[in-house]
């Protein structure tokens, strides 16, 4: 094992962990969703990078080509991309609703408002 043979795995892993970090550490809801998107897209690399063969070509059958990359991960990830954008759209719709209700999209301020309301009038809910 040397650096070149596993480099793609490690970059994938870095992107995954960076996405996880943004989701946990950042309080802004839109930034959290961008982080979630990075987390999702890192998985694309995890699936597709191992399917590549150096010297091969895209899996479109034609005369004169023998080596093709693996088509199955491509199919799975095509589905994942579309599901990813559906998740993003739903998340953003939730953010817009939260903004309407709380007038902020910072997690800390939302929790502060919730806390203030609970201590002010604990039984009027």
């Amino acid at each position: 094992m040397n650096l070149a043979s596993h480099f793609s795995y490690w970059i994938t892993l870095f992107l995954m962990v960076a996405g996880l970090f943004i989701v946990i550490a950042r309080g802004n809801l839109i930034k959290k969703l961008v982080g979630l998107g990075i987390f999702q897209t890192s998985v694309y690399l995890l699936y597709i990078a191992p399917g590549k063969l150096i010297g091969g070509t895209a899996p479109i059958l034609a005369e004169g080509f023998k080596v093709y990359s693996n088509p199955l991960p491509h199919v799975l990830i095509l589905t994942a991309i579309v599901v990813g954008v559906a998740t993003l759209a739903l998340g953003l719709a939730l953010v817009v609703r939260i903004r309407e209700a709380y007038d902020t999209i910072e997690e800390d301020e939302i929790l502060l408002q919730d806390h203030a309301r609970e201590t002010e009038a604990p039984f009027e809910r």
Binding site: K31, I38, I60, P71, L72, V83, R99, D103
Partner: protein, 191 residues
């Protein structure tokens, strides 16, 4: 040479994500997200996944960026300063990274023709897809023919998400045409 191109593009993606994580302006974050998606599409072309690259460029870099910009239009575009230092999330992320890195040591090397991914299901698809479906693009053949039910399920997911978005963003016109954002005290719903 091919490996070098892929590795340089991957390093650029990592760089884009580092800048994105440090940036506090949400507009810059969204644009960097678009840059990241285009880099991802380029890497996918280099990895011979042309169908995925096209979808990623159109959906990941196009539609996602437009959706995020639309949401930014409705919200503030500056992120507040964090109250506490992110030591705990950093520790969680580093711990996860360490475990995953240990896991990669058992994986086959990049582009190893003897790896299980290249010796099991794929050769059958490549050998039989043209005769079985008549479509030379194997990805299309698998997507629409062999695994057509997956694609049907995907459509269901998109439909559900669309219904959810409409349900969330529909304007409620109760209490004399007042929208929730215009209540006197933010966060208080009219009874």
């Amino acid at each position: 040479m091919e490996t070098l191109i892929i590795n340089v593009l991957l390093a650029m993606m990592a760089l884009a994500v580092v800048i994105l994580a440090r940036s506090r302006n949400l507009f810059a974050v969204v644009v960097l997200g678009g840059v990241y998606s285009f880099l991802m599409a380029t890497v996918l072309v280099a990895l011979d996944a042309v169908d995925v690259a096209m979808t990623e460029a159109a959906v990941g870099a196009g539609i996602s960026t437009v959706l995020l910009l639309g949401a930014l239009h409705l919200c503030k575009s500056e992120e507040a300063k964090p109250i506490h230092r992110p030591w705990l999330p950093l520790a969680v992320a580093c711990g996860t990274a360490a475990v995953l890195a240990y896991g990669t040591l058992g994986l086959p090397a990049f582009s190893d023709p003897q790896a299980p991914i290249h010796t099991h299901v794929a050769p059958r698809y490549l050998a039989e897809a043209l005769a079985a479906t008549g479509v030379p693009n194997v990805v299309t053949a698998v997507l629409a023919s062999y695994r057509g039910f997956d694609t049907l399920g995907e459509t269901t997911v998109v439909f559900t998400a669309g219904a959810g978005v409409i349900a969330l963003l529909r304007r409620r016109k109760k209490n004399g045409e007042r929208r929730p954002a215009e209540t006197d005290f933010p966060g208080e719903r009219q009874p």
